[in-house]
């Protein structure tokens, strides 16, 4: 667990580093576009102005495209790694974890409770009613459905209620 957390932190630091680099490179590109480099400006003095401007623009654009491509690849790979690491840290029990429990609906809870009381007073529950009752239990919040399942199984075990799960 600690190793995974460290890896996550390292990845975040790496992403931060890449982003910093990206911003630096972007600002450098902008600076180059606004102020041509001395070598390029020397050329511009010796050649035709229009042709040279085009050459400089092309070179800068090519350079910027190349850098953007490299940075994009690096960030994508890093994000993918980070996502994989996050998935790996997810507990194996997750497939069985229920959704966040909804708010306790007292009216619905008392409806389920009265159903249970009815079956209990009858002393038996048919397979169909058991399926319906279990579906109702499933719609309760986590705490109450746990409690209701306990009640149901306790009643079955004690013989108060006759039926099959």
């Amino acid at each position: 667990m600690k190793v995974l957390v460290c890896l996550n932190i390292l990845q975040l630091v790496f992403i931060g580093f890449i982003l910093t680099k990206l911003f630096n490179l972007e600002s450098q590109i902008v600076a180059q576009q606004t102020e041509p480099s001395p070598s390029i400006s020397e050329h511009s003095h010796n050649a035709n102005l229009d042709a040279n401007t085009l050459f400089v623009d092309d070179a800068l654009n090519e350079h910027a495209d190349f850098l953007r491509g490299v940075i994009h690849e690096e960030i994508t790979a890093s994000l993918r790694e980070n996502q994989t690491a996050k998935l790996a840290t997810t507990p194996s029990a997750k497939p069985y974890a229920a959704n966040p429990p909804p708010e306790v609906d007292q009216e619905y809870l008392s409806e389920v409770q009265s159903d249970f009381d009815y079956y209990l007073s009858d002393g038996q529950i048919s397979d169909l009613n058991m399926a319906i009752f279990q579906s109702k239990i499933a719609k309760l919040d986590q705490q109450n459905r746990k409690e209701m399942l306990r009640k149901l199984v306790r009643a079955l075990n004690s013989g108060e209620l006759e039926g099959r799960l």
Partner: protein, 141 residues
């Protein structure tokens, strides 16, 4: 030539005995309410003389992610044993259940399963039960 014929006859006539070979160990359903333990194999429970005897486990899945599993049994004396669980490990264990499973489980006072075990062995397959006979009949018309 005669000796070859005798040998062939011996092999052919011994085939029925070979078909019925194999170790069997039926495990009738036992429910111990003092220790909250139930066990037995499904084949024996199914073909026992008692009409109400059974043993098994199951899982219920609901939209929204709610899952619970359960085991239940009734022995020849009419004793009942139920348990339910939402424990991920116990739910996972239920995937190993088969027709010829020996099942054993325990539960606490709240009816929650505390242990579930399965064992799938050839010796739990009852050769005399009707389903086994029908399967063989269908395979060899």
């Amino acid at each position: 030539m005669k000796s070859i014929t005798k040998l062939m006859c011996l092999i052919v006539f011994s085939l029925p005995f070979l078909v019925h070979a194999g170790y069997t160990q039926p495990a009738p359903v036992i429910i111990d309410l003092d220790n909250n333990i139930a066990y037995g194999d499904m084949m024996t429970a199914r073909w026992t003389k008692g009409d109400d005897t059974f043993i098994g486990c199951g899982i219920r899945h609901y939209q929204g992610g709610f899952v619970f599993g359960f085991c239940q049994a009734q022995d020849d004396d009419g004793e009942l044993a139920y348990c339910q669980t939402q424990d991920a490990v116990l739910l996972e264990s239920m995937k190993s259940m088969a027709d010829n499973s020996f099942i054993t489980y325990s539960w606490n006072d709240d009816g929650e399963c505390t242990r579930i075990g399965f064992s799938n062995q050839s010796f739990y397959i009852n050769k005399d039960n009707p389903s086994f006979a029908n399967k063989n009949k269908n395979k060899n018309p």
